[in-house]
Symmetry: C2
Subunit: 241 residues, 2 copies
Amino acid sequence: MKIIYKTKHDCKDCSNDLCAKTVPIFTSLSHDEMSQVVSLITRKHYDKGEIIIREGEKLEKLVLISKGQAKAYRYTTDGKEQILYIFNEGEFFGEKNLFKNSNITYNVETLEETHLCMIDKANFQVLLKEYPSIGLKIMEELCNRIEKLENVIENIGTKRVEARVSSVLLEFGEKYGKKHSKGIVFDLPLSREGIANYIGLTRETVSRKMNHLQEEGIIEMIGNKKVIILNKMALEESVQQ
Amino acid sequence: MKIIYKTKHDCKDCSNDLCAKTVPIFTSLSHDEMSQVVSLITRKHYDKGEIIIREGEKLEKLVLISKGQAKAYRYTTDGKEQILYIFNEGEFFGEKNLFKNSNITYNVETLEETHLCMIDKANFQVLLKEYPSIGLKIMEELCNRIEKLENVIENIGTKRVEARVSSVLLEFGEKYGKKHSKGIVFDLPLSREGIANYIGLTRETVSRKMNHLQEEGIIEMIGNKKVIILNKMALEESVQQ
DNA sequence: CGGGCACTTGATAGTAATCAAGTCCGGTGG
DNA sequence: CCACCGGACTTGATTACTATCAAGTGCCCG
């Protein structure tokens, strides 16, 4: 179920709190400039588990996540899915189409209720010209993304399987973790299968390895979604070799 | 052995043929503009097997490869190297430092005799302001690099081992291949071990899988470096599943 | 309370890593 | 020109590990 809403009231909200301000690429703009940006924004709302866009489709917009999160993944020829990114609030996708004429190369599916801001390709190019600082921010963000991908490659290319699991737990802890009397607590954004598809394993192996980490007293699982990192040092050591 | 040379003669060469023109990010410039760019360029020459820069060092320049090629890699904690890129003529690195203050995250080592053009961070930022088209080209190139990395991840994350070998052979065939009566012929830019470090395997496995492809009549190896793709279709099918 | 789905656990098989000899090839020196 | 040397590559045997297949189990939600 997709609801498109664009009313004056919404846009006012937006310029105050909602989308533009949460998006790093606009942080260098003044309030007035941001209002101008906001006037170009279309917004959409998705429930959990909806597909925003599919591999191979044309996307003539830059899409910014103002609230929620989504996974980007591809299907390989043997039907497995490989997760490439977990996009969080403030992150964007579709940038490729702004600079070259290509279709999108991955599926994007929401992991929870998600609000999107979208800017038309043509409009965005005007913005880029008018505010060069946005271009710099985009480049910075692209570099960040490259860095992330380089880390993923190091992970799945060379590390032992248990190290990959530890690594992804640390990543989630970093992103979503809150302090807790026992350590760092967070909800897993992905199912076991999702984690497996993120680090190139099967769900059974992920299950076993997480269990092993729990037996060693390094983490504690509460239900399926909640994890407490009891011993961050040990988890980091497990990544180290 | 590093030779730094910067004479009027060299720069003249450069503006005509050598560095700036082979570098895509400058292709949109006029001849005069390019001359201006060239005046900001320092150049260096490296022999095969030299280290250009090491992980963790500061690099206050954008480095463009005007001739030759180099591999970028990281050492993992267990001492393996993971190759991230093979930079070819016209490609660049060090862009991360232009937009944010970070050290370089990989080693770069030449694979053959290599000529570099380097532009100082400060100078490059002036260029960016003066010629916004360079910024667009950079973004395009960053998007290309992201695409490459996404493919690498799909490769090593989900594909069967032999498919990865086939995939890398196709990649090299695409990049370096020349027509030949029997098919597509090219020199491998990397040793068996290098290939292994590129696709997350061991040298023995690479050896065995390449042998297998040869036994099946899909490729032919001449010595250690030269490969002929006899049956490109079959190689592509091998990647497909 | 029941149904379904995600997760866990166990047994087995397949495959690549590892360990260990060789072999090939290019370069060097006699 | 040939013999030798060393490094890269190949090949074989064994081991270790994860994928796969197959039952369970537990939990959430109506």
